[in-house]
Symmetry: D2
Subunit: 447 residues, 4 copies
Amino acid sequence: MKETRICIIGGGGRLWAIQFMKDLAYNTMTHGTLVLYDIDKEAARNNIAVANQVFAVNKSEGRFNVIAIDDLGEALSGCDMVIISIEPGKTECRYGDLVLPEQYGILQSVGDTTGPGGIMRARRALPIFFDLAKKIEQFCPDAWVINYTNPMTLCTAALYKAFPAIKALGCCHEVFHTQNFLARKVSQWFGVATPDRREIKIDLTGVNHFTFVTKAFWQGHDLMAKLIEEVQDPATFADETAIAKERLANEKWFDCDQKIALAFLRDFGALGAAGDRHLAEFVPYFLTSDENLHTYGVIRTPYEWRMRTAAEKRGKMFKDEDLKAVLSDEEGVDIMRSLMGDKSMVTNINRPNEGQISYLPKGRIVESNGLISEDSIRPIVATDPPLAIQNLIKQVSDVQEMTLEAIYNNDDNLLFTAFLSDPLMNLSLDKARELFDKMLKASDLQY
Amino acid sequence: MKETRICIIGGGGRLWAIQFMKDLAYNTMTHGTLVLYDIDKEAARNNIAVANQVFAVNKSEGRFNVIAIDDLGEALSGCDMVIISIEPGKTECRYGDLVLPEQYGILQSVGDTTGPGGIMRARRALPIFFDLAKKIEQFCPDAWVINYTNPMTLCTAALYKAFPAIKALGCCHEVFHTQNFLARKVSQWFGVATPDRREIKIDLTGVNHFTFVTKAFWQGHDLMAKLIEEVQDPATFADETAIAKERLANEKWFDCDQKIALAFLRDFGALGAAGDRHLAEFVPYFLTSDENLHTYGVIRTPYEWRMRTAAEKRGKMFKDEDLKAVLSDEEGVDIMRSLMGDKSMVTNINRPNEGQISYLPKGRIVESNGLISEDSIRPIVATDPPLAIQNLIKQVSDVQEMTLEAIYNNDDNLLFTAFLSDPLMNLSLDKARELFDKMLKASDLQY
Amino acid sequence: MKETRICIIGGGGRLWAIQFMKDLAYNTMTHGTLVLYDIDKEAARNNIAVANQVFAVNKSEGRFNVIAIDDLGEALSGCDMVIISIEPGKTECRYGDLVLPEQYGILQSVGDTTGPGGIMRARRALPIFFDLAKKIEQFCPDAWVINYTNPMTLCTAALYKAFPAIKALGCCHEVFHTQNFLARKVSQWFGVATPDRREIKIDLTGVNHFTFVTKAFWQGHDLMAKLIEEVQDPATFADETAIAKERLANEKWFDCDQKIALAFLRDFGALGAAGDRHLAEFVPYFLTSDENLHTYGVIRTPYEWRMRTAAEKRGKMFKDEDLKAVLSDEEGVDIMRSLMGDKSMVTNINRPNEGQISYLPKGRIVESNGLISEDSIRPIVATDPPLAIQNLIKQVSDVQEMTLEAIYNNDDNLLFTAFLSDPLMNLSLDKARELFDKMLKASDLQY
Amino acid sequence: MKETRICIIGGGGRLWAIQFMKDLAYNTMTHGTLVLYDIDKEAARNNIAVANQVFAVNKSEGRFNVIAIDDLGEALSGCDMVIISIEPGKTECRYGDLVLPEQYGILQSVGDTTGPGGIMRARRALPIFFDLAKKIEQFCPDAWVINYTNPMTLCTAALYKAFPAIKALGCCHEVFHTQNFLARKVSQWFGVATPDRREIKIDLTGVNHFTFVTKAFWQGHDLMAKLIEEVQDPATFADETAIAKERLANEKWFDCDQKIALAFLRDFGALGAAGDRHLAEFVPYFLTSDENLHTYGVIRTPYEWRMRTAAEKRGKMFKDEDLKAVLSDEEGVDIMRSLMGDKSMVTNINRPNEGQISYLPKGRIVESNGLISEDSIRPIVATDPPLAIQNLIKQVSDVQEMTLEAIYNNDDNLLFTAFLSDPLMNLSLDKARELFDKMLKASDLQY
């Protein structure tokens, strides 16, 4: 494979950036230059050592020349690949995203993708992405760009809005977790060892974090047919309040048993293909109360924990054993290999709609399978889900489109319209306006 | 104009049927045969005398030969026009439609078009319309069919579902009321006498009872521009709770001041073009509580009044003065004249989408302007409303489509999915199922 | 009606400009200012006197203040209406358009709309229209613009290309001639006096000069049904060679008997709605030879006559009797009245596709019925013609789109691709290139 | 891989059937039952021995149980795969297809896919396919069906017309030849050994035999960019008349140098992806005369040779060395493996349009890349070719649709409309009708 120059925007990060380095080390065919860029210039510089540690631990010294560059344009110049994984705004901003809506009875389990929290986060993130896209147009217009930042759909859409010819995609591992869930089901149903998730062939459709599996096969077995049987059994939906309480006690914010994903299959006709905490936020049925949410075994991640965790991450020192590279659940490096011409692959990606999703307008950022090969990503036409699922996804995508337009045009009135149009909105117009104004004010605070 | 044979399905009715007779009497060019058909055969026969009274009072004796026919096929045979205005099921059925959801916190102001009540009413009505369409196919396939029955969109859709080549349309006077509102505004703004509503040129888009004005002109004046100014003024939305209380006291269920229609203009970008009591039912913002609804001056029509009124209507005797024909707010007879070749007209109609509504799939029943001329209805492409309005209408239309499919296929599970997907739904999945099952049971009761 | 300021681009013309003045005089509700602009400044100034003569002859003195303005921007400033009727290039340019292709066996009957001649004429005309649109954007962006210049579709498309928000339409009388033909048929079939063309209600679809009638009614009679019978009779297509010879001898270039229009009905399923000399140019079936063309009674207009006629027109003096206004077959002034708010009208117009033509992409300039009312033109969804007709129209529209793109981008290679793609093209690629290069050279000549 | 029951319709054939057996032998993972069905029952029975010889020669005895079944329904019962490769009608029928149009100046190089010959062949073939589809619906509705018969697009479309839920695709090797051409170019350009065609990654779009490559890569090299340079060089299009003469002399009907494929790239913007003899038949530019055709090195296959060859094929005895299996240029067996769950593959296939081809209506049979995996074929959205190419393909697809409708409805008038609409048609309407009637008569002859 040819030499590759990669720039990580958010290269000072202590989580994704490190994971990406490990994946680079794991994929022995890759080599070239790794440029770290971060608005926290010192953090980027500090990560040079971590990167070198990663390559050393994994016997890959010399494969990548790691450098940090302070100037964004310079960092991008000559790059073949740009990886974006940033935190838009301080963690303190999450207060307004999460706590204020809660005071009005609007609960969110994550709040970084959709709902009032997601919209406000978008308002902080998108201007950064508009600017990034313009810089990419100027300094490396032919580079492939992979975004990992949430709100995924909107951040990726922002890149295309500001530079329509950009070669960008969004990557997310949530769908892989659904494949893992199905792999465990395979083990349970057929009495075999849990297969690798890549053996589960699925067709999927939707927008990031609100994606649905319409078909799933494993070695001649139609897995959806079996799941449809299961969701007819009330036992599948036994009350998980006790489990939820335990998860709260143990701070297991991310654990779930796909009960919400399965509830979509039972009542709307397709299996949710993201963690339950994400799925729950796109519809009005689950976050009516913590009690309701807990019956599905799902809990909300509290603001307080986010603050605590962010602080811990910043101070973290990496031991060699933390940096051992194994086959990970992130595909960024595999995708990079395919784009550089090594071999084709099919996986789920976030891309502008060219017809792969029949029920959404062309140009919207959607998530579905795509064929990735040399300098090319071609979307695969997704199987249509039932109309009820289409209806839910169309609402979400329309709110995203309004949000994009509003932020692009600095139009907070249109943003309020988007805010009202979100499926989680259950307030009167007056209360909604009141909350929106408070959240605007909170989001504009400088920490 | 040539002689016309007209059949009124629901010809025993005491309200619409009589109004239609008056309109026939008023339009002096019409003549021919008027066939009354009703499942209450005696009511149809009794209305012969009323019809003759109508023609006599209005100096139109002999223009129409009025007969009642008991057999539906025979009644339809040879007809040029079929008018449908029926009550699907006993008034007692409205109990389940309205009172049961209220017990779960879902309030409806009308409950005959959308929401849980509208869906259950559709479940009673649509089988009748499937059957009617089949009979029309058999006995008068070339007849033009005008439907007045609610749920308007679904009943008209049912006709096309069962007989795709039917020449049918749905008529509704709600938009005329919006024109009247604008006419009163014209008077107020320009210091002139209130003009006739037909002088207000509007463009509109949506589905019945959830229609929106995107453009309005009167003699060189852009009325929307002036309204947009008005909705910026908080005084426009002064609290109308006191007015609402008075309306409650005086049983003025149908009165409104277009405050909800105007709130759509302010927050979503287009003026609602139906009575507020209808508009409120299609979104989650107004019926959160009676208190909230009352601030817009809108009140809910109670079940108890519907029962009382139905009884009164049945016993009603008509005095000659009740039957005097004047230019009415129903256009059925005018449309009939145009279809029979007399002259072309442009008005709002409910028809399958052929491209007049860009944001809805082809074939859906939509409301917008159409050109009516000899044996032809051609839709006029509506101006696109803002995306936020499109989004709301798409949800409503999708729920209607699911409801249609569910009822056509006797699939109560799919009907539950439609029920869940309705914008008024704010329950957990379990509570929703519980309510749905109760409503099904109530709807299946034989009174 | 309010006072109107109108600018005629091509105001020095001796045909359309004068006709428009007569129509203004005939429509007694119009009044205001008439600005004459022409690149031949003297011609514009000379037409002031003609205009005043027109108004005097028709007892309309004082209704319009007629002025000539030399500067285009100044001429446009403050206008409510802009009328465009120009000759793009000298008549001598027609030599290359018509005579060169003939040398290669490609015959054209008109050569101003389509085929090699139409494409070269577009290459001269469109830059003028790009410039006009930019000037309109600058000096009177809210004005309504009516174009009469050929190639109609491309000139109107050019206006939208350069100024997408322009309020423009194209007007053409060819469809009226089809209505007149049908009116004569009505007289023949029903033994009545020939009705006014406006009594013939038609639905039509296509692009200018290649438009098709799908439905036609007169007072309760389905005219298409009767025509379909007629085209089954071979007598309808009796050889008209003798008639064609006579027409040649008498220089009756524009006469025809709709035999080609009817041949479309017989073999493709819809009635051509333009003169046969136009229809023949869009398909390969009629201009294979003069002999073939003459069997339909159609003859080609020779270059020599065009030169002679142009010279005569320039020298023409108008007698009062030439200037008497009667109800004409041009609708520009009626449309102006409707746009200014006087009353609504339905007629055929050339406009961007918003969905009125289901089988063409949005944005293409198409011809079909539209509703014209105050400051608004709303297209009416046309009935779909048979697929065979759609196929022919799609080819024509695609060639137009390529031509537009090529000229807009000064890309003569793409223009050659359009040239190849024209349905009249029957040469090998080498011969086609040779002809194209010769025509380019001829078109670039300065006369 | 699981056991598979395969039925070959046309199992008595001496070319495709044998090739398929060899591919089965080559793919060692396949095993099961092979059912031979043919209307020539004896031929099917005779092929049992050939099949067994094939498996024996290739050391695959016992992998497939080969049987012949006389009754179609019985032959299909229980099948997982159905392979269709038949000759619709006697070879004598080709006389009318090819020789009659030639008498009117319409030349065809193949005449089995498009043009007058293709349309008449479709008229013989499609009724067989309507019937096959109905039988498949009845006896093995879940089987995957692979069609190899020409006219490919129409035969495959006929399957879907008669049984819309059929799981069918069409396979063709023409695109592989284009990949081979590009592979040879790679060798020439980069001085390497000719790579395997599967290493050439292409994106393609169109309908069978009229497909176009929009992108092509090999190991980091953009092949289209290099080809575009080449077609600018006149040397690329040096006169090949001498080569054509030689090919005529040596009966090398199928040889070509992709000069027509390259002419499309030069003048229309995309590389033809089928043999030149196929490409030439879809447009009016090449078959204007044999002289013109020969300049591209292409010759027409004569009727006389087809008769001679058919006779030879019938009598053929297979030597063991003829039956040695190697990696072939047919992918049917590979596709079968993927559908049976063995591994996913991406290749070009003929399938109903679900959005993979943006410029054609949904449902049309189109050729482009698809992802084939367990019990699933998902189309990949093709890159849009230039509008000029889209325009050519749309015409072809529309003529195919008209042909399908005409034959399905036994409507020879509509078939004549399709015949007229074919791009090779260059006759007057009268001559066209005359030819059509003669061809109908010839096609209806029983040999």
